[in-house]
Amino acid sequence: MMISIQNVYKTYNQGLTNEVAALRDINLDVQRNEVICLKGPSGSGKSTLLSIIGCVFPPTSGAAQVAGKKLSRLPDRFLTIHRREYIGFIFQQFNLLPQLTVLDNVMLPLMVFGYPPEIRCEKAVALLERLGVEHRRHFVVSQISGGELQRVAIARALINDPPIILADEPTAHLDQKLSERFLSFMEEFKQEGKTIVMTSHDPLVVEHPCVDRVVEMMDGRTRSSCS
């Protein structure tokens, strides 16, 4: 089991007047090499669940285990260490640093591993080549197109070769052609044995053949169904 979530609750601002129960009693198991899509209305807790799987914060209660590690009550420092080894993030807004070059952005996760610049650069260039944006490596991120941005974002998520890829609304800002290309990349990664969890309302994603299972969410709860 790659990801195991049992009776997980997540409450934002606990004890304050703006308390929000974002997740209530979530149970979800994801096998190694499985591709899952979380679907549900806005505010149903998809991003929150993705954050817990991605070791961004521990659940308020319940048991969460990701790549063999129990996350509940793990301090931030150790969540970070686990996150950078096992998780690659792809975000809706790409979350690239706009004034850095493509190459610098892709190398960001490697910097804290203590790789010397040559090795960082080598790895990043190889990945950019594979995604077909190698020719843009010295461009500043704010100067390249949306489709290129997304491939740069994917390259950055994969630079540490993490076993788990998390994508939050990855196609929300893309047209159909780019969305399809994104999904074909995901298909490739699935072939390579990655475990993928995405959130999306986009039927293109939800109905894509590479998605093994769609998990529907509503008001912080899950309703599983097969695709």
Binding site: S47, T48, L50, S51, G54, V56, F57, D76, R77, T80, I81, R83, R84, E85, F89, F91, N95, L97, Q99, L100, D104, L108, P109, M111, V112, F113, G114, Y115, P116, P117, R120, R156, N160, D168
Partner: protein, 392 residues
């Protein structure tokens, strides 16, 4: 390969890169910051220089000076007054001095021509070069820097002045006083008492004033009081009084206060301008993204630290260098209006900046440390919460 070290190098690279990315903002911070450090370090160096001047002066100033007063004006004092003083217990020595002013027609300023009956060996340490005059009436003199400038001797050692009744007397320069002692020696021309008697035509039975040396410096004030009682028609001036006068003239206590306050205020304004609003949303987002990508809170803070350190170190270097130049080459021109008084008294006073470790440390405490704090603390706050906000 040492990965810890390599990692720090990467983080340092990143910090310098992000400094460069925000170069206009950082450059303006650097300049304002350097200006603040410049003001503060100038002030520290200036106070150091003035303290030195005052200490030199104090060292050279006589312990007790006795002047005869007639109708509120100073008159020549009979040498016999000195004999009366011998009755007072605790006085080691009484020496006559003969001095007066010589008006220099070339510069329009007065030169103080001072004749002493014996040369305090401590005076030797105030010499820039040369030696003290011999006790004879050979016309040997030591000059203060102001007089050196006035006479413009260009290396010649001999020059002559007209006596009050227009006969000439020739002098030979045997040495010069150090610029550090200029507060006291600038307009001074020191010679043997025989020479000054000769120049001013003052008889052996009179002197301009009497210098009293006491056996125990702690008794200066007591003995001064006794002298005043014994010789009611004299004014008695003591070394501590002279120092008090200098302090009052410099006003450096109040000056220190006001400049410190101003500097502190200026520092506060730039810091507030730069950081009071906390961090920009972009900066917060950047921290969130870095954390999501696996950077630890400490890594993010290290970036901030390198950035702030680079800026403040450059500012410190720039500010202190300018401060030193300001004092050493421009004699603290910017502060002359603040240090009311002393520029009027010695317009040529040349200052030798004194760089003390403690002063630089004080500057660092008032500028670099607060800057590091206000840049790193908000980053620390932003970096120590879970980075989920960057996911949206």
């Amino acid at each position: 390969m040492n990965t810890g070290l390599e990692k720090q190098r990467n983080i340092l690279d990143y910090g310098l890169m992000s400094l460069w990315r925000r170069k206009t903002k950082n450059l303006s911070v650097l300049l304002v910051f350097a200006l603040v450090i410049f003001l503060m370090s100038s002030f520290q160096f200036l106070t150091g220089a003035l303290t030195d001047v005052a200490q030199q002066s104090l060292r050279l100033a006589p312990e007790i000076t006795v002047q005869k007063m007639v109708a509120g004006r100073q008159e020549q004092i009979p040498i016999s007054y000195g004999d009366k003083l011998q009755e007072i217990f605790g006085i080691r020595r009484v020496e006559p001095r003969v001095w007066g002013y010589h008006f220099s027609t070339t510069t329009g300023g007065n030169i103080t021509m001072l004749g002493v009956s014996s040369f305090d060996p401590r005076l030797e340490t105030a010499l820039l070069h040369g030696r003290l005059p011999s006790g004879s009436s050979a016309g040997e003199v030591v000059l203060g820097q102001g007089v050196v400038r006035d006479l413009d001797l260009k290396g010649r050692r001999k020059f002559s002045f007209f006596r009050p009744e227009l006969t000439q007397k020739t002098f030979t320069v045997t040495g010069e006083f150090k610029p550090e002692s200029e507060l006291l020696t600038a307009d001074l021309m020191v010679m043997s008492i025989a020479d000054s008697r000769d120049f001013f035509h003052i008889s052996e039975t009179y002197a301009t004033d009497l210098l009293v040396t006491v056996a125990n410096p702690a008794e200066i004030e007591t003995i001064a009081r006794k002298i005043a009682e014994l010789l009611p028609d004299t004014r008695v001036v003591t070394r501590p009084q002279i120092l008090k006068t200098y302090n009052a003239v410099f006003g450096w206590r109040s000056g220190f206060g006001s400049v410190c306050l101003l500097t502190g205020l200026a520092a506060f304004i730039i810091l507030a301008w730069d950081k009071a609003s906390g961090m920009t949303p972009e900066e917060k987002r950047e921290i969130g993204i870095l954390k999501l990508l696996g950077w630890q809170t400490s890594d993010v803070l290290a970036v901030r630290f390198y950035e702030s350190f680079a800026v403040s170190f450059l500012a410190l270097l720039l500010g202190c260098t300018l401060g030193y130049v300001h004092i050493a080459f421009f004699d603290g021109a910017l502060f002359r209006p603040v240090m009311f008084g002393w520029s009027v008294i010695t317009p040529h006073l040349h200052l030798v900046p004194v760089v003390r470790f403690g002063d630089v440390l004080l500057v660092i405490c008032f500028t670099v440390l607060p800057y590091l704090a206000v840049t790193i603390i908000p980053a620390w706050r932003a970096a120590s919460v879970p980075p989920d906000s960057a996911m949206r």
